[in-house]
């Protein structure tokens, strides 16, 4: 048995008035969540009274985003609105307790403010049956059998390289030198 989640669209200009109305009706502020969309920010406000959740969605344009504060009605909103300001760079006007960008300190300023990455293009994969594969294969030589190992490390001996032969002999020389010493 889970609770129903419904969201009502709200304009930013009516936000303060709605918050004041809910304050008078005895609702408590549950959360304020911001989300970056490609062209705008959407902010979700949730209020609760007697385990009944009421949600509002406010959308503001990404460029020059300003949001009126609800901290006059709900003092607790200062934490959420300062967090939105610090993470998303949304300008919140009329904050009762404004930390000026110093509430949530991050190494990179407004780390969540960038537009989301575009959806990845789906590459069409042509499925080829197993019997056709061998006939239509472009490979000139058959695939080598067994595991292919490449030597690790900074120096890769090349064919016809004299140094390769010397490096192979070096460990033996070292042991001989050690025995002598």
């Amino acid at each position: 048995m889970s609770e129903v989640f419904e969201v009502t669209e709200l304009e930013a200009s009516k936000l303060a008035e709605t918050a004041k109305q809910h304050r008078g009706e005895g609702y408590r502020l549950v959360q304020v969540c911001a989300n970056r969309l490609p062209e705008s920010f959407e902010i979700l406000y949730s209020f609760d009274r007697k385990e009944q959740l009421v949600n509002y969605r406010v959308e503001v344009p990404a460029e020059g985003a300003t949001l009126p504060s609800i901290s006059e009605s709900y003092l607790a909103a200062f934490a959420y609105e300062n967090e939105i300001k610090d993470l998303f760079g949304i300008e919140v006007t009329g904050l009762v307790l404004d930390f000026g960008g110093n509430f949530l300190k991050t190494k990179v300023k407004t780390p969540f403010a960038d537009a989301p990455p575009p959806p990845k293009k789906k590459i069409a994969v042509k499925k080829v049956a197993a019997t056709e594969d061998a006939e239509n294969s472009d490979a000139k030589e058959p695939a080598p059998k067994g595991p292919i190992c490449e030597p690790a490390g900074p120096y890769v001996p090349q064919p016809g390289d004299d140094k390769a032969e010397e490096s192979e002999n070096k460990p033996a020389d070292n042991t001989e030198e050690k025995k002598e010493s």
Binding site: M1, N35, L44, A79
Partner: protein, 360 residues
Amino acid sequence: MGKRTVIPFGPQHPVLPEPIHLDLVMEDERVVEALPTIGFVHRGLEKLCEKHDYIQMIYVAERICGICSFIHGLGYAQAIEEIMQIEVPERAKWLRTFWAELSRIHSHMLWAGLLADAFGFESLFMHSWRVREAIVDIIDETAGGRVIFGSCKVGGVRRDVEDKKLGEIRSKISEIEKQFDELYRVFDNDTTVHKRMDGVGVMTKEEAYSLGAVGPTLRASGVASDARLLNYGVYSELEWEPIVETAGDCQARCIVRLREIYQSFDLLRQVIDKIPAGPIEVDRIKGNPDGSYMSRLEQPRGEVCYYLKGNGGKNLERFRVRTPTFANIPPLVHMLKGVELADVPLIILTIDPCISCAER
């Protein structure tokens, strides 16, 4: 008017389990104002939903915090299951409740130890954590991990607990409860504990409600609000009531948590007696989440809200956690006004700060 100074409290302080900074504006020995600054443990975990798909994100969600990790994973799983309309098997729901209540007990016992350490009662701190070890051992045996359970997944749970094992755990719980009785007697009756905690950091019912306090911080001021009343999981089939105290001071917040430990022991016994047989996971999860949902759960620290939004791709568009400690920061700032400097660490600890949760 006395001389005003600003004392920086934190981020490193012996009493703080995690870093938080408070600028305490002092007038002689009294705090006039407290200005919090957070971000020392900010890991940007919410943004990781762009990199990990919705099945993998549960493991990131669990690692938001070490103490309340299971319920983070559970909240995430419930939200995804609601968006994708996945029907979780009954036994999985009961097992989830079993681990959730174990998580609550171990978290409250850890907190009780830290609180005792905050006012200098080190032996009580040691004994609280000793009793907690027995609970952590049960978690380790059943879930596989002491701190990060790793047992919740989208569509069910990852491992089962045999009924024989559950029976053994039921008798172990009774023994642990007897050991915990001694600790409760000290917290409830000791003169030094009362001297430090009675009448300190008082918050009235109206103040607590209007400032958005959640969890034991709210219930200690007389408001019977508990997210388990939303009847998620199997709580509608268990007999329980929110634990409420009316004094609104540090002692009330302490007693609420200790009584919740007893309540969780009782809930565990009910779960073990009533758990049905059956599968523990759905067969297959098809498709991607498309839609949004907010699931609310009761963590040991209070109400946690998980807002998840999917747009049909395998990565979520938004993953937002409103943790109880974040909601308790404004009440904390209010409670610190007018108290003496020596009471500041105690009041900070009575909201049970989990800064990893608050900053994510």
